[in-house]
Symmetry: C2
Subunit: 342 residues, 2 copies
Amino acid sequence: MQDSKIRNMEEFAAISGISRPTVSKYFNDPASVRKSTRDRIEKALEEHNYRPNIYAINQNRRTSKSIGVVVPYLADPFFAEMARHIERRCIAAGFWPILFSSHGETQLEIDILDSLLSLKPAGVLLAPLGRASDRRAVEKFCHDVPTVLFDSNLEGVGKAFVGSNNFHSIGLIVEYLCRTGEPPCFFEMPPVNPNANTRRHAYIRTMEALGHKAHVIHVEAQGWGFEEVGYSEGKKVISDGRLPTDTILCSNDRLAIGLLAAAYEKGMRVGRGPGFALRIAGHDDHPFSKFTSPSLTTIAQDYAAITEYSVETLFRLIETDSKNAERETKLFESRLVMRASA
Amino acid sequence: MQDSKIRNMEEFAAISGISRPTVSKYFNDPASVRKSTRDRIEKALEEHNYRPNIYAINQNRRTSKSIGVVVPYLADPFFAEMARHIERRCIAAGFWPILFSSHGETQLEIDILDSLLSLKPAGVLLAPLGRASDRRAVEKFCHDVPTVLFDSNLEGVGKAFVGSNNFHSIGLIVEYLCRTGEPPCFFEMPPVNPNANTRRHAYIRTMEALGHKAHVIHVEAQGWGFEEVGYSEGKKVISDGRLPTDTILCSNDRLAIGLLAAAYEKGMRVGRGPGFALRIAGHDDHPFSKFTSPSLTTIAQDYAAITEYSVETLFRLIETDSKNAERETKLFESRLVMRASA
DNA sequence: TAATTTTCTTTACGCGCGTAAATTTAAATC
DNA sequence: GATTTAAATTTACGCGCGTAAAGAAAATTA
């Protein structure tokens, strides 16, 4: 592979002995040219390392081969994992994923969608901020670009939503906790997205169904610093003796991680069985939940299934170009992960 | 702001009443046109929401306004934080950051650099995989694109390296640990990058300087799953009674988090003072280190300083277009963060 | 071998913008 | 108000590619 000085497709075509339009055809779909021509092009390609100029390619196309991936908060390993899965699948399908994080900020999310628009992406996978999202901006964007929402739903926005069935998962863990000890109270997360409310409702409903009194520990805090919220609010709640039960179900794992730290600092042993003062459970199976002290009992969302379905739904949308397809909602069931904390 | 059907700069120029070349000039640098014209353009901009086609813009440029940001492993919140800081600064400077994660894989890093090349970025900020990097591929890339390495150094590659002074930081914490209790042994991380070796050397040298015998706990494990390594290797080491001292300095926080989990499971209380069986310290001030149980004593790398200097160095390189500038190495000092674990 | 189908070549145009040169217009200086 | 200087306009070309149309060449079928 010589370090080539090929400037454009014209020159490359000349070298490979194939006409430029045919070479162009090859790059758009290698299978669209005869095998013998394909071989000649690929031979030249090995020797000269030419790649078409992406900017020139996309200038005339209505859409590019890129796919926007937007998550609300990338410093959260949960979303980092999601993004990783999605990236893989996109690449495997011949697309080019471009990752963005809204960093929890409304304006940044708007700006990202705005930039994305000018990238003419084939489609977008969006985990919106949620409550902090500018609904109208997102709506408008989804009108122009095939978009699949995941993780956090904005009712009616986008061509599809893929997420977890919070009612199922919360039901699972509440039932488990009730069965194995005191019924849990519910440690709320800041209401950044619909999941916050859905999980609280699911908790209340399940408790009522089981004939127990629900008890929600409300937090005033805002933003995405969940560990800090769990920690500081947790210390307060413990100090004030406001815990109505020895079992706490946290709205998500990061909150639980903070709460574990608070409990530790307050000298309360967390775990199940005699000798333990508190049971703490989370939700999401955060990548680090296995390594907390004690390890965290939680609900594992089906990362793989959610991302796979999201991406495949998007591909379907792209192919069928269905402007007026009906919006689809797909919820996956999660599974209980029993560890040491509850 | 009407939903406009403006197709190109020509049309927009007509509407704004300014000639197209001048409008083009405006978009390249608003300050380069007279205030009165700027106002007219911006007025039209408010009313018609036109944006130049990025693909057409970049087709003729030698470089684009985008800046590649490549980290080895985005599921590590340490890198997520780094990326976040970098993104901010790039945007503030009018550039367009594009984030990539190598996910710990050699081939992916190569592919990313390859794609990046065709994006004609103004510059690249690269935290290389390290040992797993294809040195020649990275070298070649750096030859074509102004690149600043950060976090992990590849000697001689790129126009600059910005990172932490491991000798200083390890010195700090070793000294602290020796002063306040038993001299530490050193729990190695998988040798994914030069930091692994540098930190081990720094540990050994500091111990010798202080007149203590160094003791390194070697791990066979590979890859970026540090928590798992710390956890499983930690359990083994504890079970086998291979701990030469009650104080363990981990090569990084994620390792320490795993080790904390192992210690907890083995019933060893971690902390300083009477009644504690083990002291554990880390390195990096991982975003979650504050919330481990007990909270982790560690070394805080100066995120802000490192990212700021990296970005500014890159901007300098871009501006001066210094093909043959001398390679610069800048190391920042870190600070000791005393928490409960040691 | 002739007829048909597929694939390739030739030729040509356009995409939306950057940018250079020559000219005109407006602002700043005296 | 005349002169200098700065900024806009007009005109024109080119970037690297997609793509359409018409005809030539190759592969396939009869």
